[in-house]
């Protein structure tokens, strides 16, 4: 951090360059930025007079980045009402992202559930751009129904680059030529070298726990599994304690953690 804490607490107002619907309740906004966040980092987005929410970066380009947001609360619903040219307060980027350097030269399994694909999209973009730096790259994605699957327009590009995509939905009444069932069921279908593989997982916590178990069953060592955690982040600089998870602040030490760092605490119901 090259700024003082109070500077990190002050939002910069930037105009929305583009708004894009992603599904019935999810949308993306593109913002101008002087920062270049690492994959897995997040920003605090502020809607004037409403409030602030932590939102991961779902794509970063030169001088601009995209946030993908699910409209579920007061602030995200207010964000959804904004249009191109409206101003959004931004603080960040914050937190520790995915250890992508550790994935190079290895099999990379990316597991995402629902909107958990958003913070992993920069990793998929990076893998697609530099596929030769990795061994086999696989995306395992679970969603509620086909129309909830995010970034489908990117899937073709990723697949063309050599990324293997296995997707599943909980149920569907429409044509769908991929799997139906839970995302953990896809894990045994992936061939990877457990001794030289790494996994990045993001989704609902219960899904991540089942994924860890299924990855373990396929020989993936726990220290090679990274999870992105979500908690009630407020200050985003490790002062307020709202996102405290045992000895860690999710906003500062996370949101991405190696599984062994979380393992004992994930089993404590009270935290």
């Amino acid at each position: 951090m090259d700024k003082s804490p109070h500077e990190w607490m002050t939002p910069t107002f930037v105009p929305i360059l583009q708004v894009r619907p992603e599904s019935s309740d999810t949308f993306s906004i593109e913002l101008e930025s002087e920062h270049f966040p690492s994959p897995g980092q997040f920003n605090m987005l502020y809607v004037f007079g409403v409030g602030e929410v932590p939102i991961s970066v779902s794509r970063a380009k030169a001088s601009r980045y995209i946030h993908t947001i699910r409209s579920v609360g007061a602030v995200t619903q207010a964000l959804r009402k904004l249009k191109t040219g409206d101003l959004v307060g931004v603080r960040g980027p914050f937190g520790r992202g995915w250890p992508i350097e550790k994935a190079k030269g290895r099999d990379l399994l990316i597991l995402a559930g629902g909107i958990g694909l958003a913070p992993l999209r920069p990793i998929l973009d990076e893998a697609a751009r530099n596929i030769e730096q990795f061994k086999n790259v696989t995306l395992l994605y679970g969603a509620r129904k086909p129309s909830d699957c995010l970034f489908k327009e990117d899937w073709e590009n990723w697949e063309r680059a050599g990324i293997n995509i296995l997707a599943t939905v909980d149920a569907t009444e429409t044509n769908w030529n991929r799997s139906v069932g839970v995302v953990t069921k896809l894990i045994p279908k992936v061939k990877f070298d457990p001794a030289n593989a790494i996994s990045f997982v993001c989704g609902p916590e219960i899904m991540m726990l089942f994924c860890v178990e299924a990855l373990n069953n396929q020989g993936m060592e726990e220290h090679n599994i990274y999870l992105s955690m979500e908690r009630n982040m407020k200050c985003a600089v490790g002062y307020c304690g709202h996102c405290q998870f045992g000895v860690d602040f999710i906003c500062k030490q996370g949101p991405v953690f190696p599984y062994p760092a979380l393992k004992s605490r994930l089993k404590v119901r009270e935290i």
Partner: protein, 151 residues
């Protein structure tokens, strides 16, 4: 290389580590089947007189919901099995089973197998344990789906 039904049954993960003489006995109740994408394999409410080992392709398991039509609730792929209704009265399919892609299956005759299990309770117990494991896994998956975690 074309594999015999005996070899297909022996190599299928569902029968993992089962002695070859037993898988040969089971294979005696089997036959090869192929379906084109979109074809019906079994229909909800009709007699369930066999179950399937998936060799190639993807099978869609659907539940017919009045007023909504067929709700697609699960896929089964190579290495998996489909159907346990043949094990329990009233021996009727509880779901529709369709070929999502072109599929190759081994169909095992339920009545033939039940008779062999009745004659050899050890085989019956072994098969029951294997089916129970599949059922337990599917119940676990269904519970996760019921949680609607992505909602």
């Amino acid at each position: 290389m074309i594999k015999t039904i005996q070899q297909e049954v022996k190599d299928h993960p569902f029968f993992k580590e089962m002695p070859a003489d037993v898988t040969d006995l089971i294979a005696g109740c089997g036959k090869n089947l192929r379906f084109n994408a979109g074809e019906h394999i079994a229909k909800q409410g009709t007699p369930a007189d066999q179950f399937y080992l998936v060799r190639e392709g993807t099978i869609a398991i659907k539940l017919h919901v009045p007023g909504r039509g067929a709700v697609f609730i699960q896929t089964a792929e190579p290495g998996e099995i489909v159907g346990w209704s043949w094990l329990f009265p009233p021996y009727q399919w509880m779901f529709d089973v369709d070929a999502q892609t072109d599929v190759a299956l081994i169909a095992l005759d339920g009545l033939c197998l039940r008779n062999k299990c009745d004659a050899d309770p050890k085989l019956g117990y072994d098969l029951m344990k294997r089916f129970s494991q599949v059922l337990a896994e599917r119940i676990g998956h269904t519970r996760l789906q019921l949680l609607d975690v992505y909602g």
